[in-house]
Symmetry: C2
Subunit: 100 residues, 2 copies
DNA sequence: CGTGTAAGGAATTCTGACACG
DNA sequence: CGTGTAAGGAATTCTGACACG
């Protein structure tokens, strides 16, 4: 796993990097938009990918979007990505079968 | 600046990532081998580059090297890198001057 | 709904020092 | 020299709740 995805940053630093309050960051977790890991003691740990996602969430919130809309939108994008990959695989298989 | 060099990791996480004790990590700073940043409150913050350097230091310590030797070695490598670049620039300049 | 805040407690980190060797 | 540890304090984070709207 690359450094970008490694969960190592505490909430205070994430707050500085994103400009969001700790309250907001915890709330977005409650709304299933972000998934930090925890230390044994229970302290949250975030990755740079999480930081990027939070900035994105922040922009969407400023545009008046609600948390559940953001969640839905991300799920939709995920489904479409999967669909695209599925179709691509299908075409590759077809091309392969024609040749043999 | 890339994520790899951004100082965002607290000493507890660095300890886990490197296998070094917090005492060791602070001591290597005292010996000028590592240079974390600080939060306003005074908490140390490290980068992934620092983590890599600490693993390297750890290996050298296991090989019986002393902290001042490690520091000297790194300074030496830095000087040689600078020297190489200097010579390279010199050759490029010479080649350029010949042509004009 | 999204966010601020005060509250009390727990986890984390800090420094300076003593110890061993 | 390099590292462990106990000590006391400060900074950081956590949760659940009340407030506003």
């Amino acid at each position: 796993m690359s450094y970008k995805e490694k969960k190592v940053i505490t909430i205070g630093v994430v707050s500085e990097l994103t400009g969001l309050s700790e309250r907001q960051i915890r709330y977005y977790e409650e709304r299933k938009l972000i998934f930090p890991e925890r230390t044994k003691g229970g302290t949250r740990k975030y990755s740079f990918t999480d930081v990027e996602r939070l900035v994105d969430i922040s922009n969407k919130m400023e545009d008046g979007m609600q948390t559940f809309e953001i969640r839905k939108m991300e799920q939709k994008q995920l489904r479409q990505t999967e669909l695209r990959e599925k179709m691509l695989r299908g075409q590759l298989n077809a091309a392969f079968n024609i040749r043999k």
